[in-house]
Symmetry: C3
Subunit: 340 residues, 3 copies
């Protein structure tokens, strides 16, 4: 593992250093696991108190929260400690850099266009006419179908699947087992049989999107399913055909979004949320974990429950729900008093 | 992309054409994405009004809904417009036809039987004694275990897994990453340890079944897990060991069905539904999204909620649930009035 | 299929045999599928009555439940019939033994350490510096990243993914498509952009753990995500970064556990349960299917619902919930009586 002088870290994360610039930092850790040779961060004063109790050698902290001089620990002053910590983590990232070039076992189709400095690892399969951007990193067993487009600086982890004609923007990451462009789920019943509706559309994934392990994004029936730029999708999420996800949304693990629904920008769906087909979720709306969205949601509002309603309102209702037996007793007492 | 004369499309979908037979149609699309060179469909009069406003060049419509002559658009009259549209989509499907034959990198075990006109793509692995039907299309990284049977006209998309001795009927599709025949989840606790119960049964998937991306169907403890003919299973669904799913069921994304439960024919489970072990769901029953089935369900009834009850009844209850704070206030007012 | 004399089975499972020691048993089955040449088991007296009605040739039963002599069936007396049946099933397990050795198509990195009697099947990829224990069975398309450790007697089924530096203890099974060590879902928002926080930690899976098909276990942001020994994780479950799962837990299909939460030992989470981040679930706590855990849970207590509360209490509340329309009518009647 590499070690860095505090001044090097301060420069890397653009922080003001208060401490010995030559002090060596060997690792970075959270409040629970940082060591006495390590760097941590504190987002607020409560976290700072914990950090000061921790063995950490250095703490990234907001200038307003920095303790007075004389502390034995070093401080890196930064207006966004968590962002700075993320940048510091990249210094200590042990992930191996993949070998550049095309492994001899990779199967590259006819008319494939490969960018510069790509890494195509063992047993990757790239279909005819696919276009792979610069500095793309393709792990083993990645399947890129015919005519698919993979933008610059993408990372496709083992077993990721990009079905034919799907387009990924720049800096997209597909985590292991993610499937982009499988068929949408669409049938028409006729004389007791479910007849498949061919899914002839595609998926467009805009730049800076991440798609989690074993998540699935279905191709459109016609036209496209679209994931907006900067949106982050967690493991095992399901995005159905013709869904439009806006930019900078957060879609947490095991969320399911049914066909043709629309998420405007900056929507947050917590874990295991389900969204009905053909609904629209307004910009900045948040749905709490396991919520079930059954109709359009207003922007910049927090929802919870199934059917999802205002989070504040649901908490109020739940406080009564949890006292239902007492409410029933009170009704009974009233009835008794009135001889009913 | 191919283009078709209207008369060709009418013949293909067996519709009555009202319009210029030689007019060229370049694409097919839904109401939101159809172009002025494209074909769309309208299932009812409301959709027809939308279709008439769309740029579509031609519309598939029920004969009873067809507008009077003189319209600038062409009409294809068909008693089931959605079914006819599905058939038309197949004309415009851009999906590449896989190369026939066995790719030299495919590993074919001893005693494997291969049907005619199969496509076994790079890096497929077919285990000893497996039987692959005619016109089967096996994509890269598909694993077919020893002794497994794959019927005629099946499509196994990339990374699909068919574990040993599993049997797939004709025209089955496994979408990317689908796993059929992994071990059921079965342990017996003894002296604080969970001992595994070997899962020595199998899975039988009948004809015309589709299994979605990254869905999982477990093998039985003994005997078989069975998926009935014509049933369609969406992405990321989980079917546990010894479950019996009837024919023509619809199992939507992220549904989970626990061990040994039985779905009769034509059951519909909407997204994220959970089904307890050892229950029976009657023919034609429908469970709304996120419902939790805790006991046997009657046929031809719509259920919702956890625990799942009659959908109609739950809606009635929920209307009161959402007014619980007001109910509590009314009780308080009564108590006050009575000096309680 | 092999057949065994009853005396052989009795010895294998250490049961007392009451019946003809030379009688041949050809299969083992549950109460619904056992044949007249087969062995079954009965856990209690009700099951025994069913078993006696079944065609089974032999029944494993607790000595206290064994029927009087003179019955036509044979009996294997064992204090834990289900455990003994599990042991008997292993005799009839048809799963093929994998060929020992390293298949020529496997890609083995530099400095890999391979134990004795390993089976490395076609198209496996083992990264640089990885360490594979004795008697490990690695199926096709398994990816073991650089520096990862796989303990003795592990089984990695097709498409299992072990990302770099992840450590698996002895006797761990990864079912098809399971992903261990994908990135945790962690971003920090800055000027409207979600910046990725590098996930530089790892995953430690202790001995005797099973991880189901297409389940996902994320690597830690820093330090480690840990799955305690003997814990069994079902298909499509999601364990987020920095989660600590204790020993001997049962995590059923489609459960999701958010970041940094802690499960003490012997916790049971039924299917589709969701657990919030940073909560602690006490030893032996049980959460019913689809429950949503929003805060710390006490040990040895059964919970249900979202938010999860005492199962007993929730059932009581639900009994009133399901009569809410009647409660509302009673309030109305009271109001009428009082002229309100």
């Amino acid at each position: 593992m590499p070690a860095y002088r505090l001044v090097e870290i301060a420069e890397h994360i653009r922080a003001v250093l208060r401490g010995d610039p030559d002090h060596l930092i060997h690792s970075a850790g959270g409040l629970e696991d940082v060591t006495d040779q390590g760097l941590t961060y504190a987002e607020d004063e409560r976290k700072l108190r914990q950090a000061l109790q921790s063995p950490a050698a250095a703490i990234i902290v907001h200038p307003n929260h920095a303790p007075p001089n004389g502390n034995l620990k070093a401080f890196l002053l930064h207006p966004n400690p968590r962002l700075a910590f993320a940048q510091a983590l990249s210094l200590f990232n042990p992930m191996p850099k993949p070998a550049l070039g095309v492994h001899p076992t990779a199967v590259i189709g006819a008319g494939v266009s490969l960018g510069d400095e790509v890494s195509i690892q063992p047993y990757a399969v790239i279909g005819d006419g696919a276009k792979i951007g610069h500095r793309v990193n393709i792990y083993p067993y990645v399947y890129v179908g015919d005519g698919a487009v993979v933008g610059d600086d993408c990372t496709l982890y083992p077993h990721a699947v990009v079905m034919p004609f799907v387009a990924l923007g720049d800096r997209v990451a597909l985590h292991p087992g993610a499937v982009v462009g499988g068929d949408g789920y669409a049938y028409v019943q006729h004389e007791g049989i479910h007849h498949k509706i061919p899914q002839i559309g595609t998926v467009v994934v805009e730049e800076d999107v991440e798609i989690g392990s074993n998540a699935t994004i279905d191709r459109a029936m016609t036209a496209e399913t679209r994931i907006g730029k900067g949106t982050k999708i967690d493991n095992l999420a399901q995005i159905a055909h013709n869904v439009k996800v806006g930019s900078h949304c957060l879609i947490v693990s095991q969320v399911g979004i049914a066909g043709s629904s629309v998420l405007e920008d900056y929507v947050v769906l917590a874990g295991q949320v389900g969204v009905k087909d053909h609904v629209r979720i307004g910009q900045g709306a948040v749905v709490g974990a396991q919520g079930g969205v059954t109709k359009n949601l207003a922007p910049n509002t927090v929802y919870w429950g199934t059917p999802a309603i205002s989070h504040r309102e649901l908490l109020h209702i739940l406080s009564h729900f949890h006292r239902l037996p007492q409410l029933a007793e009170r009704i009974q007492a009233l009835e008794k008093k009135l001889g009913m």
